[in-house]
């Protein structure tokens, strides 16, 4: 496993190292033939859309998971669980078309909002299912203990069940984030991409996967190199995110 990761990272670095320097992370893309140029707007764009996606999907996802694990037992919960699985299996390009129809066409403009919503839909089932699994791991005896000292069910859910599975929820969210960060298809027809500084969510917005795609299909070696460098950056960011969240939520048992 580690060997495969090292080989992939190493090869991306080998192909892209020539394009990596400070300006690669601080500058805007430049046309072919001009030296320098970077992917700063794509990094920022990806981050902004990801924050939108997290704000939309995390509360809904965690609430749905709490319902499924703590409250829902009947046919409705079964249906919800089934629909979540269906949602997880929908190809991401279809999610993109959905967001395009829902947001881009009425607004008559590609936008960061549309990209964020598309990513949120992709993250949602991952968050729901992982969180539900984590909540179920909390021993029933802990819940019973809480109830036995007279705490109402909502206190038990928040202070015992949620609190003791926080690191699991974080891990699930992280999985969802990693999945969303690498998605190109749902962004192509929602956020579109941009070669400008875009922090305005109502305008088309650059993102790393779309920028990689644009560079990779070009005829120029210099842009291919940038695609490799951007791909390496993307994987590195996901890797660092993983490490940071692992560190923040490391289990108190070890």
């Amino acid at each position: 496993m580690i060997a495969v990761l090292v080989i992939i990272l190493g090869y991306m670095l080998y192909r892209g190292i020539g394009a990596i320097n400070v300006s690669f992370f601080t500058d805007l893309p430049k046309p072919v033939g001009e030296p320098g140029g970077g992917i700063a707007n794509a990094i920022v764009g990806s981050a902004i859309m990801l924050v939108v996606a997290i704000l939309l999907s995390l509360p809904i996802g965690v609430l749905a998971a709490i319902y499924l694990s703590e409250f829902g037992h009947g046919w409705f919960a079964q249906t919800l669980r089934f629909l979540t699985d269906v949602l997880a299996g929908i190809p991401s390009i279809v999610v993109g078309i959905f967001a395009y129809t829902l947001i881009v066409i009425p607004m008559r403009s590609f936008s960061g909002w549309a990209g964020g919503v598309a990513l949120a839909i992709i993250m949602l089932p991952v968050i729901i299912r992982t969180t539900e699994e984590m909540l179920r791991l909390v021993p029933q005896s802990l819940r019973d203990g809480g109830l036995a000292v007279g705490a109402p069910k909502w206190r038990v859910t928040v202070d015992i069940v949620l609190a003791s599975s926080i690191s699991g929820i974080a891990t699930g969210t992280l999985l969802a984030i990693s999945r969303a960060l690498g998605e190109t298809a749902p962004l192509l027809f929602t956020a579109l991409g941009s070669s400008l500084w875009t922090t305005n969510l109502e305008r088309p917005m650059a993102s790393m996967p779309v920028q990689i795609y644009t560079y990779a299909i070009s005829p120029y070696d210099e842009w291919h190199q940038k695609a490799w460098a951007a791909a390496f950056t993307l994987v590195a960011i996901i890797f660092v995110l993983n490490v940071v969240v692992r560190f923040l939520t490391r289990s108190k048992h070890g």
């Binding site: 046309p31 072919v32 981050a47």
Partner: protein, 363 residues
């Protein structure tokens, strides 16, 4: 306690992220197609992949003169360009194959085709045995891509390449697997020179290929041809050049074998200039003229003739006007064939038509 402090850290982290996002969002509301508070007017274009490097160069150069105007072009493919201008999600579209009548009818208002540069489709092959460039005529190329000619030493190929060492090797056909303007130009030429092709395969951005393997995008076909000895495929000229692929000379309608080059493609455009229709939707394949390379086509900008927003329309017209006047000079450096003067004049005439309520903007 530790858990609590961790929760607080996580909370603060997400708050910081949130603040960042809001900072971004608080640039102020922007009506699509209106003015952006973060610095002047914004114009959005999207479409064909082929001219993307050139358009981004134009935009970058134009931006140096007009720093307050934000223009952006995204390469989403010719089909995407047509779709998005029709849906009016962009201010201008771009396509390699002109819109057909049906597509024009689907648009809410009249769309103008403004040619910018030309692209050539080259027949590329991987045959280490052949020392000199191979020469082919249209019907032979059609027969190869239909699977009727199966060997490199076929008498038909040998007849056009006297003295060339053609091996007794199977021909491996590589074509595009995705819909593409490149395919549209290539099969348009095939249909013109081969009645059999017209009957059996037809034309369009994607066709039902009788034989061969598919590659995604120009880069996919280039890659397959590069790795497969005995293969033949078709790609945009610039991809063949950048990948150092062998390129066949093709016999034009005047009976001359012509190597694809920026000049021979511009010559082909001159060859059709006399019979170009009013809406400039024309096929450049099999053009007249001794120096004309026969497989090429215009790439177009798609713009609504009647615009709503005067400020924006003015900026858009000025940019296109500049592109045709000054931008054309940058085309050759990036591997694009510039418009011949007679077509350039016709393109400029189209730009003059863009108006808001009858008011035009050309200087």
């Amino acid at each position: 306690m530790r858990l609590k402090s961790r929760l607080i850290t996580t909370g603060m982290l997400s708050l910081a992220l949130l603040a960042g996002a809001c900072g971004g969002a608080s640039d102020g509301p922007v009506k699509p197609g209106g003015e952006s508070n973060s610095g002047g007017l914004a114009i959005q274009g999207a479409g064909a992949t082929f001219p993307y490097p050139l358009y981004s160069k134009w935009i970058s150069e134009y931006n140096k003169k007009n720093p307050s105007l934000k223009i952006d072009y995204q390469s989403i493919g010719s089909g995407g360009g047509i779709k998005q201008i029709t849906e009016r999600t962009v201010d201008f579209g771009a396509t390699d194959a002109p819109m057909n009548d049906e597509q024009l009818k689907a648009a809410p208002k009249e769309i103008l085709h403004i040619p910018t540069v030309l692209g050539a489709v080259v027949v590329t092959y991987n045959l280490p045995e052949a020392k000199n460039p191979i020469q082919l005529d249209g019907p032979t190329v059609a027969a190869i891509f239909m699977g009727d000619i199966k060997k490199w030493n076929d008498p038909k190929i040998a007849a056009m390449n006297e003295g060339a060492a053609l091996p007794d090797k199977d021909i491996a056909v590589v074509h595009r697997s995705d819909g593409s303007g490149t395919t549209a130009i290539f099969v348009d030429y095939m249909a013109k020179v081969s009645p059999e092709w017209k009957d059996k395969v037809g034309v369009g951005t994607s066709v039902n290929w009788p034989t061969g393997i598919g590659g995604k995008g120009n880069e996919g076909v280039s890659g397959s041809v590069k790795q497969t000895p005995g293969s033949i495929g078709y790609v945009e000229l610039i991809y063949a050049k950048q990948n150092n692929l062998s390129v066949a000379s093709i016999k034009n309608s005047a009976g001359k074998f012509v190597t694809p080059s920026l000049e021979s493609v511009t010559a082909a455009a001159s060859g059709v200039a006399a019979r170009i229709p009013d809406d400039l939707r024309v096929s450049v394949t099999n053009a007249d003229g001794e120096a004309s390379y026969p497989i090429s086509g215009f790439t177009y900008l798609l713009v609504y003739k009647d615009q709503d927003d005067a400020v924006k329309a003015k900026a858009l017209v000025e940019f296109i006007w500049w592109a045709l006047a000054e931008g054309e000079k940058m085309a050759a450096d990036l591997g694009y064939s510039a418009l011949p003067p007679e077509v350039l004049t016709k393109a400029q005439a189209k730009v003059r038509l863009i108006n808001v309520g009858g008011k035009t903007f050309v200087p």
